[in-house]
């Protein structure tokens, strides 16, 4: 389903394949100006689990920018802008671990550099 600005709305998408990939990302919650860094633990086209810098309240709107690998395409890295909602967050098991954030993706679009 095409959304505004050529993006894709994922309403009704079921049975998405899940991939254990470590893709670097930036994210921000509630449209704040500050972007935080993270990396995915696993991801599908309808949601992702990532390690981030902070805990976030479930239900909070979240915007995530995935940085796609450029070495595969010999071109500057493209980004996927994802919008969705925080579903849950987990405190780190130890001080050295980053918090885990689970999100649902409801919309995405690709951005070329």
């Amino acid at each position: 389903m095409l959304g505004a600005r050529g993006g894709v709305s994922l309403a009704g998408k079921v049975r998405a394949q899940r991939f254990k990939l470590h893709i670097p990302l930036r994210y921000r919650v509630n449209r704040e100006s500050e972007w935080r860094k993270g990396v995915t633990t696993n991801i599908s086209c309808s949601g992702m689990l990532f390690r981030g810098e902070d805990l976030a309240e479930p239900g909070t709107p979240i915007e995530i920018r995935l940085v796609l690998p450029s070495e595969m395409t010999k071109q500057r890295a493209a980004e996927v802008v994802c919008r969705g909602t925080v579903m849950r967050t987990e405190r780190p098991g130890s001080n050295s671990d980053a918090p885990i954030v689970a999100t649902r993706i409801s919309y995405y679009r690709f951005v070329r550099p």
């Binding site: 894709v8 394949q17 599908s44 796609l68 595969m72 395409t73 493209a78």
Partner: protein
């Protein structure tokens, strides 16, 4: 023996009228060859070949509007019995493999001699294959890239992806829209969508993001 019955019927498909006319005259001067039609683009080519069912189609793959490659794909789908010789100024290495996969019997570059072209027509009309010297080199290089040493090609082969489909996936990972990738590959947007649909079917993915994740996870595109 009826001479016309033994003649090799030929259709010339090229967007340059002067080239077509010149080639027609050269071929018709040759005993046993008869030019039965001329087409200026891919669409016209498919129509003419379907109607006239010539023994040989001399096809330029880089024509405007509906390209020769698109015509080739269409003719391949239709299961044409016409033997096709790609007669082109240049052909990419990957395209050599692709056109052969689509059922082409011959590849001749336009800078070849007339004698070579005539020889290729006779050879191909007899059911054999003809690949020019430069194309053989390209073919070998393209086949080498598909050897099992490459995890990428292994993975793409496991899913039955063509070289062109792998190119399309690489451009999707690079963030290209259908319009941009069509422009990049010199194909129509319709063909780009067609490639994507085939890729989605082969990989069992349902959208671009899922395709990109799948491609990264399965190493479907190469770094070289």
């Amino acid at each position: 023996m009826d001479e016309s019955a033994a003649a090799i019927d030929i259709v010339i498909s090229d967007d340059h009228p002067i080239f077509r006319e010149g080639l027609r005259k050269l071929l018709e001067a040759e005993p046993g060859m008869r030019v039965v039609g001329e087409a200026a683009d891919g669409e016209e080519t498919v129509k003419l070949v379907s109607e006239l069912k010539p023994k040989i189609l001399l096809l330029d793959i880089s024509m405007p509007r509906v390209t020769g490659l698109e015509a080739l794909r269409e003719l391949s789908k239709l299961g044409t019995k016409t033997h096709i010789i790609v007669l082109t100024a240049a052909i990419e290495k990957e395209q050599v493999v692709e056109v052969l996969q689509l059922g082409v019997h011959g590849i001749v570059l336009k800078h070849s001699t007339l004698q070579l072209l005539l020889k290729s027509i006779r050879c191909v009309s007899g059911g054999q294959y003809w690949v020019g010297q430069e194309s053989v080199s390209d073919l070998i290089q393209a086949l080498r890239r598909m050897t099992p040493q490459s995890r990428t090609s292994e993975a793409s082969r496991d899913f039955g992806l063509t070289a062109r489909e792998v190119q399309v996936i690489a451009l999707i990972v690079a963030g290209y829209t259908n319009k941009d990738l069509a422009q990049q590959l010199g194909i129509s947007e319709h063909t780009a969508k067609h490639h994507l649909t085939n890729i989605f079917d082969k990989l069992g993915v349902s959208n671009r993001l899922e395709l990109v994740l799948f491609a990264i996870d399965h190493h479907l595109i190469s770094q070289d």
